[in-house]
Symmetry: C2
Subunit: 250 residues, 2 copies
């Protein structure tokens, strides 16, 4: 048995009972060490823990598949949702490549994605159609990333930005905001959320033309409003369009 | 106190402790009646329940704001995530219109969105950049919806489709799949998930050119793969691109 288990943003108050149960029933808990640290200690007691650094993703996934193959109940824990920029797919790829799809029961336990956690702290910035783009070009050509930003901006999607910045790619976020700025007003609200629902959480709403890129790190998620998004009482609000159909005021 | 509370897809195993606590602490539980039914009975005991039909959204939101204004702790429960095609924004709009943003503490409790629940049941169809589009034209002009589908398809986003069909708009899904089909191969896998994690759940993977539109209803979420998405052991798998960087097989 192999499960990709979503931890949600990090706080146990957003850890679903299904995720808790899957971990409790496991013999082996695999995961990036920063994510394993999010698992409550009582759930890890007596279990084999296989954790590796951020770059050891393939090695970690192989280890988990190997553990499951040997008959041990194995979970791979992921921050946010296991199906978004996470490990569910890599596990499935390895099961497929090793001809184990029939042999090892595989399941994904969904969770609260990072961009939803950020959105909740910001107010109601998503509400309607949205797109999510990762600025990491480790596995995706930068030209493809730019094309996606351009498409999402031109069609007025609210845009969630993952992996906005790292030491190696300091200018990606500025470039991305520049592309979006060709289609959105400079005062468009942008939510900048660091470490949502974790120690050190930060929540800011800035104008598209004035995002403080230097304060953004790899653990930050940004939510760029669409043409209708506004600030209400310090929150981001993307109306669904009710004002066209109903009178909200009197 | 007013909270927009996410119930997740419906099963209590995916109801976060934070959502459970918010409901337990409330005096008033407001919501569409189909969503209130998802709340465990023990949590509703002794509370005032304000439920209305699907079309009474504004009325329901006003009722919740009114209850909160009178000093009763009030929650508005939403299926999936309260910030995606749901009620968080409408509550904020009404608070703003009535000048209550400072007076009534407002909070959003995030949850597992419907498209993540569908994705987990399908395998790993999202994984990388994705876009979400609702086909409901009650509040959005159809031309805008078509433009978004076109943009998302052309930039190779995985596409989640909400509100795919109703009695009044039987042909929207066919039109939407036709637009996407201009950019994707006919055999592109499409996940069709009805009532995820609820009684009567159905999960199918079909080819883009052969989606059985007649079997789709308003409670179905579709996930259209990108150009790299394939079927692996009956599941949908969108690789993150590791195959370019690592050898997955031998």
């Amino acid at each position: 048995m192999l499960k990709a288990v979503s931890l949600g943003p990090g706080d146990v108050s957003l850890l679903a009972p299904a995720a808790r149960l899957a971990i409790a029933e496991a013999d082996v808990v695999a995961g990036y060490k920063g994510y394993v640290e999010l698992v409550p200690d009582d759930l890890l007691a007596g279990k084999e823990v296989v954790s590796t650094g951020m770059m050891g993703e393939v090695e970690r996934a192989r280890g988990a598949v190997e553990a499951a193959r040997s008959g041990r109940r194995t979970v791979m824990v992921c921050s946010g949702d296991a199906g978004i920029y996470a490990m569910a797919g890599l596990l499935l790829e390895i099961l497929e490549a090793e001809g184990l799809l029939e042999e090892i029961p595989f399941e994904v336990v969904p969770g609260v994605p990072a961009f939803n956690a950020a959105a909740a702290l910001l107010g109601a910035p998503l509400m309607h159609d949205f797109a999510s783009v990762s600025l990491s070009d480790l596995l995706t050509p930068w030209e493809r990333i730019e094309a996606r930003l351009e498409a999402a901006a031109s069609a007025d999607f609210v845009i969630a930005i993952y992996n906005p910045r790292s030491k190696k790619r300091g200018d990606h976020l500025s470039k991305a905001l520049g592309i979006i700025g060709r289609y959105r007003a400079p005062e468009t609200p942008v939510g900048v959320v660091g470490r949502a629902y974790r120690q050190g959480q930060s929540v800011r709403v800035e104008a598209l033309s004035a995002v403080d890129v230097e304060r953004v790190d790899m653990q930050t998620v940004l939510v760029v409003g669409n043409s209708a998004t506004r600030v209400a009482g310090g929150r981001m609000l993307t109306p669904r369009g009710y004002h066209r159909k109903y009178a909200i005021g009197e």
